[in-house]
Symmetry: C2
Subunit: 348 residues, 2 copies
Amino acid sequence: MTGPGMRTVNLVLAGFGNVGRAFFRLVQEKASACRDQYGLDLRFRAILKSGGGFHTGRLLKTGDLFRDGAPWLDGNPAWRPGFGAVEALASSEPGCFIEGTPSDIRTGEPGLGHITRALHAGWNVVAASKGALVVAFKKLRRLAAERRAALRFSGAAAAALPALDVGVYSLAGSEITGIQGILNGTSNDILTRMGNGSTYEEALGEARARGIAEADPSLDVGGWDTACKLLLIANSVLGLELELADVAVDGITRTTPDDIAAVRARGAALKLLGTCERPEPAKPWRLSVGPRPLPASHPLHGVSGTEKGIMFRTDTLGTVTVTGGGSDPRATGAALLKDIIGIYRVAA
Amino acid sequence: MTGPGMRTVNLVLAGFGNVGRAFFRLVQEKASACRDQYGLDLRFRAILKSGGGFHTGRLLKTGDLFRDGAPWLDGNPAWRPGFGAVEALASSEPGCFIEGTPSDIRTGEPGLGHITRALHAGWNVVAASKGALVVAFKKLRRLAAERRAALRFSGAAAAALPALDVGVYSLAGSEITGIQGILNGTSNDILTRMGNGSTYEEALGEARARGIAEADPSLDVGGWDTACKLLLIANSVLGLELELADVAVDGITRTTPDDIAAVRARGAALKLLGTCERPEPAKPWRLSVGPRPLPASHPLHGVSGTEKGIMFRTDTLGTVTVTGGGSDPRATGAALLKDIIGIYRVAA
């Protein structure tokens, strides 16, 4: 596709860690596919990291950011100390702001400031950071609606697993009556390894060695990462405005190989499950996270290793389950790209 | 939502069998949810069946179509013999034409005529009938693009299982490198029952008794229903323009309980699988349907009974699998409603 059918989308990316870099590289790799298949010309105008930003006034290219394959800061003429979201948002016509900083789930910053500014400035927003959305879901959704801006966050919810797409679009018009999800790959990998004979400490060590677990894995194994994702999914899909304090959270830190063996002896599998349910149709939703046995017939029973999965029960479309999705930075970057295409593609 | 934010969508429905009637009832049931959640006011302007149509000049309501819970034809003032697609499409401002007749997969009629006329008249189209799309996919897609009309057909592809949504939207920007699907609930139910000790004839009889299999189940057990769905999914998701003759089709009519037992003894499950693959990245795609053993680790291994499932392999988002979805007429009706909402909702 060329000419008048082509749509230019200015991009500002905040966060240039593993996910941000993978996303930047992916957009370069997929540039011609985006033009040919979706009529979209994606152009990086600025990339922000702590302390400043990359900005040249031209389209940012790989050579502006990397030297010898590594991020290039010292002596890089594209690097501008102190260049931040305000400057970036003013540097081009509004397009799509991609929030990918390591946001704090207590304060939501720095993502909260970024997203708020971007929406006020008329930019659409695609987020990989959970913090801002966990802290200020209601406020950000309302601000986006007021500004008629898109606010998408697959990358913050379950990334390559299309939990939000299925819940929001594929189940539109049905009433969702319950949600269950295995949403944290690290915890699921640890439970899978414990089921294969490792102790918790061994399984955690193996996950760290493979780069799956962080140095501080407490958000993962404590259930908080699952709780954040569940909260974002439930608020989006069920039209709620709950907060993290509304989720009853338990993790797998006290789970033993004996617990797993006992569950398995009954033909089930122990999973760190996020659950949205309500005791009766008109009652408030209850969100919880904790280790739960899933019988062999459960659609999420076979979700193992770093895989994720989510199951929606509905009143008209039956039960719909989606599983899989890559869990590396490139897959998260691909989830960001998917959201951008979803905003700008000409629907058919 | 009320007032200026509300969007009226005129509907013409062709086909008033099980699916058409379930769809009509569902739209009545979900009318207020469609207004409140999506700002859509869905209005039936005409409903066509063989020999004529229901049309009053006003919005069609339940009382215009049913009496004592049964479809009402004799003495119904809303019934107009000879009233067809031409008259229906001229009877209101263009909206969404829902094609749900029992179309023939050789000629595509009567759906092909309906859809062609509707697109020419500036209507969007949502189809539950496979025939027209199987026969004339390329022509209809191009016509829709020329007319800038939407042409959606979840109901013809895998209905409540969101195969097209996931393939087209959730995997946008990634390259799909392979597709495998269990797409026919009747065949899967028969294979499941044969795995539990029934002969093919017994399993088919049970499926008929439960209303799952048609009197003539040859499209299902012969693999043709799977082939049609696979063709529509592959053409949509991979951007192909293949025809039914391009699909190598085998069914389960010669499958024996011994075949199933032999596969199970190896820890696998025998499934009627639709497959899109290519031997090398640049080579043409190969579409085939036939009974295939799936190992226990395969994401579709556990799809049993009347359930369906589809797995997409991608270059960037990993492997994404979606399973489940109701298979009754109400679920198919809900898939039509989902497509309508997808066309008209204000994206966010």
